[in-house]
């Protein structure tokens, strides 16, 4: 048992190290997608330069086929690349969704000509893509989509609203699922398209969150025309296509860095409870222990997954537990850390609050993190059904025509 590279992995790693040393920008803005809107224009330029360099070298899509500009490398190789790249502060945050979800869907369903046209520009970072699935009335129930498309000659006319769309405001293209037949059951009446985000009738508005940030958008469609040639999959089989995308999404859900047991320890050493240093408080200690064990558990779970990849096996289901554990933990830990600070715990000014108000910020954002990309509850359903093989809940929506389903407000 060890964490060492195989001979092949070690060789690949040193090649990557060398290349990064040579090419990685000395100081790049990271983030981007999560930056305030105004700084993004600057950031996206830098990101494009870096992305095109990566693409040239083949590191932009290591596992893709050569014809699409990939390296035909292994999953573990792309992990190795990311590990090494993370040692540099490279710009990013703009292309993940496009290259992680949209383009793979294109490669699976679009025509050779279309892929010829769209894959490379996306890979080089010339063109940015976004994903238009969620709607106000289609959250956990993704297929509950109401945005409709009607055929008119060789075009489809799209009307409706999408929500929680990351990067819609700087995207050139998007993939979208719409309802083309409300008279059949939910999953049967959907169709899938890709479209130009600059099309007339598209209106993008940022969504402000409780945490103050605006990382997502609402996108309104008002008689937006999309040529039938941009349909992926058959009419009415949009759900099948969407599943390709969603499959890739599951892999994409990462665990953000957050204040963890070590930040809590740092805090506890700086404050007193009962006139004693808080680090000597047994309750604080037992919390630190519990959260340490969770953090380590996730860390070594990842190692197990990487080991499977390294052996060329498909990782086991254990990889599905990350967000179930980390999201509530972010909230509980922040909440506990604020509690220890008493009345001062509410101060969110980074100049004044201990550890630059990391706990206060995390407490606000965690409430959203427990929901985004699958709520705590939905993720437990998924583990119960896909990992443990327990039956689905009773589905009253499968046999009924979509427009006959009860909907509330």
């Amino acid at each position: 048992m060890d964490f060492n590279d195989t001979k092949e992995e070690a060789e690949f790693r040193s090649k990557v190290k060398a290349w990064l040393k040579e090419n990685a920008p000395k100081s790049g803005k990271s983030g981007g997608r999560y930056d305030p809107l105004d700084v993004q224009d600057e950031a996206i330029k830098e990101a494009r330069n870096w992305q095109s360099k990566k693409a040239e070298a083949g590191y932009a899509a290591i596992t893709w086929p050569k014809e699409f500009g990939g390296l035909e490398g292994t999953p573990i190789q792309s992990v190795i690349y990311s590990q090494e790249e993370s040692n540099y502060n490279v710009p990013g945050g703009f292309f993940e969704i496009g290259l992680g979800m949209c383009i793979p869907t294109m490669m699976a369903w679009a025509t050779p000509e279309q892929n010829e046209r769209y894959v490379k520009p996306a890979l080089n970072g010339e063109e940015v893509w976004c994903q238009l699935f969620s709607e106000p009335s289609a959250g956990s129930d993704v297929a509950g989509i109401r945005t409709k498309a009607e055929k008119e000659g060789d075009n489809w006319i799209i009307n409706g609203q999408k929500v929680w769309t990351s990067g819609a405001h700087f995207s050139d293209f998007g993939i979208i699922v719409v309802r083309t037949d409300p008279n059949v059951p939910k999953h049967k009446g959907l169709s899938f398209f890709f479209l130009d985000m600059k099309s007339e009738g598209i209106d993008v508005k940022p969504i402000r969150q409780i945490s103050g940030g605006a990382n997502f958008n609402e996108v309104f469609f008002n008689d937006v025309r999309v040529p039938d040639s941009q349909r992926l999959g058959e009419v009415g089989e949009g759900w099948k296509v969407a599943l390709t995308t969603l499959m890739n999404e599951r892999l994409a859900i990462g665990v953000p860095k957050s204040a963890d047991y070590s930040a809590l320890t740092k805090l506890a050493k700086e404050i007193s409870l009962n006139d004693k240093s808080a680090i000597s408080n047994d309750l604080v200690r037992s919390k630190i222990a519990e959260w340490y064990v969770q953090a380590e558990g996730l860390k070594y779970t990842k190692m197990r997954t990487l080991t499977a990849l390294s052996k060329g096996e498909t990782p086991g289901p254990e990889s599905s537990i990350g967000k179930i554990v980390s999201a509530p933990k972010m909230q509980d830990l922040a909440s506990f850390a604020m509690d220890l600070q008493g009345a001062s715990g509410i101060i969110s000014d980074p100049e004044i609050a201990l550890l630059h108000s990391i706990f206060q910020n995390q407490w606000l954002s965690a409430a959203g993190y427990r929901i985004a990309g699958g709520t705590d509850e939905i993720l437990r359903n998924i583990v119960a059904e896909r990992v443990l093989g327990l039956p689905q809940d009773v589905r009253v929506d499968k046999a009924v025509a979509f427009n006959e389903l009860p909907t509330g407000r």
């Binding site: 969150q209 404050i271 408080n281 604080v284 008493g342 009345a343 201990l354 409430a367 959203g368 509330g408």
Partner: protein
Amino acid sequence: MNFDFSEDQKLLKEQVSRFLQDKCSLNVARSILESNEQYSKEVWRGLVELGLTGTTIPEEYGGLGLGALELCVIAEELGRFAAPVPFSSSVYLATEAIKLYGTSKQKELWLPKLASGEIIATFALSESASEPSEKNINTTIIGNKLNGKKLPVPDGSYADICVVVVRDKDSNTISLALVEMNSKGITKNELKTLDPSRNHAELIFKDSPAEIMETGSESWLCVEKCLDTAAILIAFEQIGGAEASLSMAKEYALDRYAFGRQIGSYQAIKHKLADMYVKIELAKSNCYYGAMMLNDDGGDFKIAAAASRVAATDAFNFAAQENIQTHGGIGFTWEADTQFFYRRSQVLGLALGGLTTWKNKLVNQLEEKNIA
């Protein structure tokens, strides 16, 4: 067996509730949250006109001369509407402190003004992120000169007078001092907090004129007394907030459909809301006893205060947090009203010290009384 509020008290509750429903919808909290205003002057004025700032102030000082139980029912409603007003700081803390420890001169001077709403008062204890204690209070008074730093002080940016927990250098005991906030040598820095609908400030005193209050030889006990009193009253605000969060979550669970069903028909949601309800009822029952002890100055006052605070904080924190979760994505948007209770739950839950502090206080009391 008469473990309930009286008909009169319930009528008062309804009256306050009707007023707030009318004048203090959550849009009021939103307007304060989004503006630079420090509190809702209109709601405050209305509360004053109802005489509520003088609820427990004796009639001789122009108050209503009512008891703690009346204050409890008022608190519950203020919590239910997340009212953005300085009621907790001015009434539960400062007014009660002056009633308890003010010199007769101070009472004559300030209580009438507080009853009539002519002034707003607050209470300053915390000096840092470390739990305040008899040992670590560094704000001092020598003669009538106040020096030190307090933060966060609720409504500190605009309160007219402030009761300050100080170390009396002459007697080297902890005491309370009363300071007029327009005095020289006071710097007020508004603080950025998790709940912008409630003003908080850092106060720096530099040789500021202040009057010591009559805490005799109580030292730290006078602080405990003020905190225990406020703990019970704030616990009722927390219950109001928790109930509002639960009913908001319930309404949404009934209105929102997923997979062709109301989400309120899924056990994950049903059990979550049942858990909220259970925590709220446990808190309520503890708070009823707290109210009784506060009102009767009963032997279990300190224990009941700690128990009320622990139960109510747990209930409100959980209800406010899981209300957002029940709403899903929409509940995390700025437009959602869920945020007011999420934010307020922390302000109320931390104001007098956190759960860790109060659980320990509770067990200290149990040990003293050999109950545990």
